[in-house]
Structure formats: C-alpha cells, structure tokens
C-alpha cells in the first residue's frame, strides 16, 4: 500500500498536498483499498466555497458509499472531471491521477492542524486492529 509522505491527512482518510498557492485534495490509498472498486464519484462545483470538515463529495463502490471531507477551508478552483468517466483512477493512483479537487485555501494556517504521515499511519494501524 502506498503512503506518500509529502502530504498531510485527515483522520477520515483524505489527503492534502500543497502546490504553489493551491491545495490538491484526494482520498488515501488506504481508503480506496478498503472501499475496493470505485464506481462513482460525486464532486462539488467549481466556485463553491467550503469550510474545513465540510462534506465535499461522495465516493462509491458497489457495496458502500463514503462521504469525503475537506481538509482545509477554501474555494474550489478545479475538480478532476476524469473521475466522471473513470472513477477507477482513484483505485489505480489515489495520490496522483486520482486527485479529486483543487482549492485556494482561505485559511492556510489550517495546514498545520493536519496529520503528518506518521500520525496518519497510526490511524490506519488502529483501524486495522479494530
């Protein structure tokens, strides 16, 4: 299982990556592996302004639907439209081609509240043990 280290995380299995002034958001490789084959992704509209912790979409497999939450507040500047036709990109490359949206953060300080890779690894271990 892949776990990129240049990103930060939410306990609910979303990741955030800094790229210039923007933040790219997706779900983690661990999240996609527990969901298994992803068949549908619902994303917000470009231009929506959302707060940290808001539900911004849904990721669905055949037997489950997971709400996904925003790691940082911001305005949506792009969504990954490729996921409409090929949601399996998240299964194939959760931290890359499977990105979900791009925001301009309204409160960049929130970055420091996110989990680093070590802390997120512990979250996974706890869930695995349960």
């Amino acid at each position: 299982m892949k776990l990129d280290t240049d990103v930060r995380f939410l306990e609910t299995h979303e990741w955030a990556r800094k790229e210039g002034d923007e933040i790219i958001v997706g779900i983690t490789d661990y999240a996609q592996s527990t969901l298994s084959d992803i068949v549908y992704v619902e994303l917000p509209e470009v231009g929506d302004t959302l707060s940290k912790g808001d539900q911004f979409g849904v990721v669905e497999s055949v037997k489950a639907a997971a709400d996904v939450y925003l790691p940082m507040s911001g305005k949506v500047v792009a969504v990954n439209t490729a996921l409409e036709e090929t949601p399996e990109l998240i299964n194939q490359d959760a931290f890359g081609e499977g990105w979900m949206l791009r925001i301009t953060p309204t409160n960049p300080g929130e970055w420091n509240e996110l989990l680093d890779a070590d802390a997120y690894q512990k979250v996974i271990e706890e869930e695995e043990a349960a």
Partner: protein, 483 residues
Amino acid sequence: MTEPLIYELSSPGREGVKPPQLDVPESALPQGWLREDLPLPEVSEIDVVRHYLRLSQLNYAIDKGMYPLGSCTMKFNPKINEVTARLPGFTGIHPLQHPDDVQGALYVIYTLQEYIKAIGGFAGVTLQPAAGAHGELTGVLIMRKYHLERGETQRDTILVPDSAHGTNPASTSMSGLRVVEIPSDARGNVDLDALRSQVCERVAGLMFTNPNTLGLFEEHMEDVIDIVHGCGGLVYGDGANMNALTGIMRPGDAGIDVMHFNLHKTFSTPHGGGGPGCGAVGVAAHLVDYLPGPIVVLDPNLEEEDDPYFIFHEPPKSIGRVKAFWGHFGIMVRAYTYIRMLGSEGLRRSAEHAVLNANYLLSRIKGVYPLPYDRICKHEFVVEGRFKDAPGVHALDIAKRLIDYGVHPPTNYFPLIVPEALMIEPTETESRQSLDNYADILLKIAQEAHETPDLLHAAPQNAPVRRLDEVRAARNPVLRYEH
C-alpha cells in the same frame, strides 16, 4: 443456461393475445397527439408462456427449498391463501364502490385490524401501509405529529440502535427528523449508558427492534422503554421480527407505543420476488387519533339488534393518507386466511417452533462458525462467515458455495456491527431433516474453507450463472433494452 430477452423473441407483425373487436362507431382520434411508434415486443401467447416459465426456472424459491434469509421470515406460503385471495368477490371489487356493496371486504379489513390489535396489544391498527418501510414512515410521522400537537416542536431526534435495519434511519430522515445512533453493548443489547447520555427534550422517540437484528431478545427491554418514556419520547417497535413473539408477548403490553407488522413475514403472505407486502401499523391509545385515514370501523349509529355494518372513518388528527385507496387488500385476505387457520394457539406454536428451529440450527454449527454473542437466540441468529485459520474466505464465498449445494444462502453482511455476518432465519415451517441438511452443508463448507478454499472462491458453479460483474454494472449502467 440463459434466456434471451422477450424483445429478442419479437417478430415484426406477430400478434399476441387479441383484444375484442370494436362494437361501437369509431370517433375521430386527436390528431397531433398520437404516438408514432410503440416499441413493445411482438410475440405470441406461447412465446410469452415459455419465456416466463423458463425465467421462473432460473429462480430459487421457498417452494423449492429452505430459504433462511435473516430478517425476511421466508416461511411456507400456504396455498389456501392464494385460493381465497383470488375469489371473484374479492378480486372483482372496485375500491370506490358504495360501502353497502362491499361489506364482505370491509368485514375482512375490520376483522384483520382487530386480530392485529389482539396479537400486538394495541388500541388501533391501520392496514394502509404497503410494506414494512412504509409502515415505518407512517409510524415516525405519527410520532412527529403527536409531539407537534402537544406543542413540543423541539423534538426533532430519533434514536436508532446501530444494529437496526437501514430502513429505520431512512424512514426517520424522510420524516424530516434527525438520526442519532445508539451503540450496542457486549451482549448485543442496546447500550443503556449510551442511551441515557442521549435522552433529552429533543428526543421524539427510539426505534427499537426486539428481538434485535442479532436475533437476541433485549435483556433490558423495560429499562430501554422506561428511559425513553422518561424523557417524553415514544418507542417505535420494528415488527420485522414479530415471528418470534406471536402469542408469546404483546409488544403493546411492554409499552411499545407504535409498531409496524410485516404481513408478508409474520403472517405468511408471499414475498412475490420483492413485494407486494403489507406494513400494518398498530398504536397505543394515545396515538389512535393520528393513524392515517381512513380506517374501517363499525358504524357507531347501529342499534343493538342491527346486523354489523362497516364504514370508513377518518381519525381526527390523522397524519393523512400514505397510499391511494385502502392498502393491499389482496394481501389482507391472505393474512386473514392464515390467522383464521392458526388461531391463538397456532400463532404461539409458530413462534415457539421458529425459535426452536433457530436454536437447533445454531447448536448444530456452533463452535465451527464464530458466534459473536453466545446466547439463546430467538427466531434467527448471526454468526461470522470467516475463520481465523482460513484467511481469504469471506461470508460472500460461503453464501455462494451454499448455492452449489442447492440451498439458499442466509442474509449476509447484515447487521453491520458483526464482521462478515451471516444472518440465518430458518422459520418454523422447516422440518428437522431440512435443518440437518442445511447444517451438514454449512459444516462441509467450513471444512472446504480450510482444505479446498478455491471451491468457495469459484462458487457458484452449479447455478444458472456464475458470479456476476457488479462493478461493471455500476460503472457503465445498462438499465434497459436498447432497440
């Protein structure tokens, strides 16, 4: 073994059954409003008979063998039910005929309302809801309106145990109320401390399934009901599991305020490949005025010497009707027939044998299949469909392997609080041989899981189709025949 679609049997110009000839002069058709094409199949009657008969043969059904779907009560559907429901004096009556001309039908509805009141210990019953979930919606709307009428507009929360059927939270949110989930404790009961921490003046009620979806009778039933009543809330009973209790306990006696019954489970009406059902709702005295109208009552203006006469009555604070007309009358006739044949003792013996059968089957496989809560169960039980020393085998594999042995799998992956759940409800109409056969197959499969797991992963091999690609179906939905 596959069957083409009926469309693929079509031959241009072929006609099926023939309507009668026109016996009046033609009138001008509204030009410009007419459709150009009606792309339905063009097949003969024998094409239709063979096609649907062949399709029927691809199905498993109660009439073929044991069908122990947990929470669904797949008991024998007595054949007399089908005969009575098809009597021309029942099938041929229009719902809006004058009450004078349908007194026989109104008698059946009235009497079945009375029977269900007696069985559940309730003061009022509506037979209007079409299915269990429809009954739940009815019940939650009744609870909501009850509080509103009393001015307690802040009661916007329904407590739902984490073991509940998915319909409970869905019915709650359709009613415009908020769901708060209550966890289960280590013995599979509602966690009383968690419940106490959530009760407050916002609680409209609790949805309570007892026996719960683990098949276990709530050991603290009275505490649960008292705690909810103590904060001014009402207790809704999910009657999906009533087959464990008929003649054993009346939920109304224990303080359940409102409850739905599934006539297609407890009272033997057929499941029809997914319906129609009937989700009768019983209520305690303080909720009678809120029932969806109309209900059937004895005409209050009758003199003592008059023959009984039945009329429709609109409860004064009714939530409104939940369905057109009076409900699934054809299903009511079947349930009436069943209760008439069993009587009080027969209903009690049914529940007793449903519970006997479940405990017997559980005893036969206990120790082999992990049992999360080791207690006497009621009409069903839940085991884990996984083995520590056979990783890679899942509940789904066990379910599919059961198909290879010619029986129907149990409910799987529900309730959500048990990993790899297999939820087994044999019902009272299975004989000991039938249960032994099912137990033997389950034990054999457990052995295979350790020795030849590939047989499980490849299952079913002895069915009309192999495992189907659900991912493909969901990613690229094909939801109709394309001409």
